[in-house]
């Protein structure tokens, strides 16, 4: 572990782990309901990778906390202790909205994770090394789908533009910097997210141009998820399902 305030490190790890946990959960809701068989497979695969990353991030967080396991963190915290960005907890909406959210997140991960792979914290670096390969694959796939649907029929174009308009106010949170980020940057554990924005804008700009989609104007951003100040009403409902068995049968081993 690098030389850094433990509580800060835990917060950083929870942000990473909760993002993949909650998005993995949302994606897994599609199981058996996708528009075409190949997408069923791809969505299950994405969910699988994300939950796998969750195990690593929350596992490390639990290790730093000392008296927890990754499962404790996933299944026994309530809304206020989650540190995921609001974007990933939003309901799936239609397939277009799900894929748009996926792309907006994958693009971020595909930039962040390779940096984290060079983290001064070797455990962070190791997890990021593995996850960044998956993220590279994910972003290629979700970008392709966004392009295919954005530049598809009139209906698919309209739906993708609606999805982008709806999700855009949730993008800014990924780059909002606070004391935790500053501490991570100082310790060389993680880059300040704000420094990734230009690269992110370039990447999504290219894809949206190809997809003939228009990035909305205005930079208003909903905040609060990664700091834990607030969440949407949707997260609580998600947890009732996700945590049901562990809550109903405490202490059992599965």
């Amino acid at each position: 572990m690098a030389n850094v305030d433990k509580e800060m490190l835990v917060q950083f790890l929870l942000r990473m782990g909760d993002n993949s946990l909650i998005l993995g959960h949302r994606v897994s809701e599609w199981c058996g309901h996708a528009p075409v068989l190949e997408e069923d497979i791809a969505l299950a695969n994405t969910a699988l990778d994300l939950i796998g990353q969750t195990q690593l991030w929350l596992g490390y967080a639990a290790e730093v906390m000392g008296d927890k396991t990754a499962d404790d963190l996933a299944f026994l915290r309530d809304v206020w202790d989650f540190r995921n960005i609001l974007l990933v907890e939003l309901p799936n909406g239609d397939f277009g909205q799900t894929l748009m959210r996926q792309f907006l997140f994958d693009a971020y991960q595909s930039i962040l994770l390779p940096r984290l792979a060079k983290s001064s914290d070797l455990q962070v670096a190791e997890i990021a090394e593995k996850a960044s390969k998956e993220a590279a694959y994910h972003v290629e796939r979700s970008a392709d789908t966004v392009v295919g649907l954005g530049d598809g029929t009139e209906e698919s174009h309209a739906r993708m533009q609606t999805a982008l308009d709806k999700l855009w106010p949730y993008v800014g949170e990924m780059f909002a910097t606070d004391a935790v980020d500053a501490a991570m940057a100082t310790a060389g554990i993680a880059p300040d997210p704000a420094t990734l924005r230009a690269e992110y804008d370039a990447l999504i700009g290219k894809v949206f141009a190809e997809a003939t989609l228009k990035i909305p104007e205005g930079d208003f951003a909903h905040l609060g998820g990664r700091t834990g100040k607030t969440h949407t009403e949707h997260l609580g409902h998600l947890l009732t399902q996700m945590q049901w068995l562990q809550r109903a049968y405490p202490g059992a081993s599965w």
Partner: protein
């Protein structure tokens, strides 16, 4: 008729029939029905297990279940591809599923009501499926046989994972043991039904066995399944819900109670506990997904056109 005799000779000699080979219309039709039904079962089979993905009790279990359901979709893909070699498209087969012309395995019309059901589905349902499928690796139609070889490998992995869940539950808290027994109680007879009605009532059997589309009789396979499963249940400390279950020294297998065939035919007719839900879910996925399929197709065509224009 001459061709037919030659065809049969080839089959008797264990030479695989390949897509371009001549084949009798009945053989083709039967295969399309069987492979299609099997493919549909993989697809619909995602639903009862998918029902617990969002409630899986640990990250590990969630991953295992996701991987399994993903495998099932993959099996669907292999099988649709095998069926396509017989001249029917995946979309055509899907339409036939959705409007009720084609069936899927009735077992998926039963609900998954507690977490142990996910174990029991792996242990019993995949167990019965494997029992049906292992001989089909030697089936006469090449693409089907090769698909079954890939599928069987994964299915036996799934079965072990299911048994592992059952083990955890059976060795767990009182509530977990109760879940395990409850799952076995509800899924035992539906699993026995998976082998189909008794041989006496089974139609087409003789021809299909001659064509090596069907390799064993229903009752043979069912007996084999019972004989394999009873000791596994004993090992788990669970009770098979059959008062008449006894070891028959003479036949070297267990005597067991027949499932309720009235229920079986009722479920086939559409009156199972989940028929409506399953078909609604698949129809909704298909209808809601139309714009996606259309969009991706339109984009692919634009790209193709642009490429052609550039050449």
């Amino acid at each position: 008729p001459e061709k037919l005799a030659e065809f049969q000779k080839k089959i008797d000699a264990d030479i695989k029939v390949e897509p371009c080979d001549w084949m009798p219309e009945g053989y083709r039709k039967t295969l399309i029905r069987q492979i299609g039904q099997h493919a549909h079962s993989e697809i619909v089979g995602q639903l009862p297990e998918g029902n617990w993905i969002t409630r899986a009790p640990t990250l590990e279990r969630k991953m295992i279940l996701l991987a399994k359901v993903q495998d099932e979709a993959g099996h669907g893909l292999y099988l649709y591809a095998a069926a396509e070699t017989l001249g029917v498209s995946r979309d055509e087969l899907t339409e036939m599923l959705l409007d009720g012309r084609m069936k899927y395995s009735s077992i998926f019309n039963y609900p998954t009501l507690n977490w142990a059901d996910i174990g029991a589905v792996g242990w019993l349902v995949d167990g019965a499926a494997i029992m049906n499928q292992v001989p089909l690796q030697r089936t006469s139609y090449g693409p089907y046989s090769r698909a079954m070889i890939r599928i069987c490998k994964e299915e036996s992995f799934h079965q072990r994972q299911g048994y592992d869940i059952m083990m955890k539950m059976a060795q767990g808290t009182e509530a977990q043991k109760k879940m395990a027994q409850d799952a076995l109680n509800r899924l035992w007879y539906p699993s026995l039904m998976m082998f189909g009605p008794s041989d006496a009532e089974s139609v087409h059997s003789t021809q299909n066995m001659a064509w090596k589309i069907k390799m064993n009789t229903n009752d043979e396979l069912r007996q084999k399944f019972v004989d394999q499963t009873v000791p596994q249940a004993e090992y788990l400390g669970l009770t098979i819900p059959d008062e008449n279950l006894t070891w028959n020294e003479e036949k070297g297998g267990y005597d067991y109670s027949d499932p309720d065939w009235t229920e079986f035919f009722n479920v086939l007719k559409g009156n199972g506990p989940c028929n409506t839900d399953r078909m609604e879910a698949r129809n909704k996925a298909w209808d809601d997904g139309k714009w996606v399929r259309d969009g991706l197709l339109a984009h692919a065509e634009k790209k193709r056109a642009a490429k052609t224009a550039a050449e």
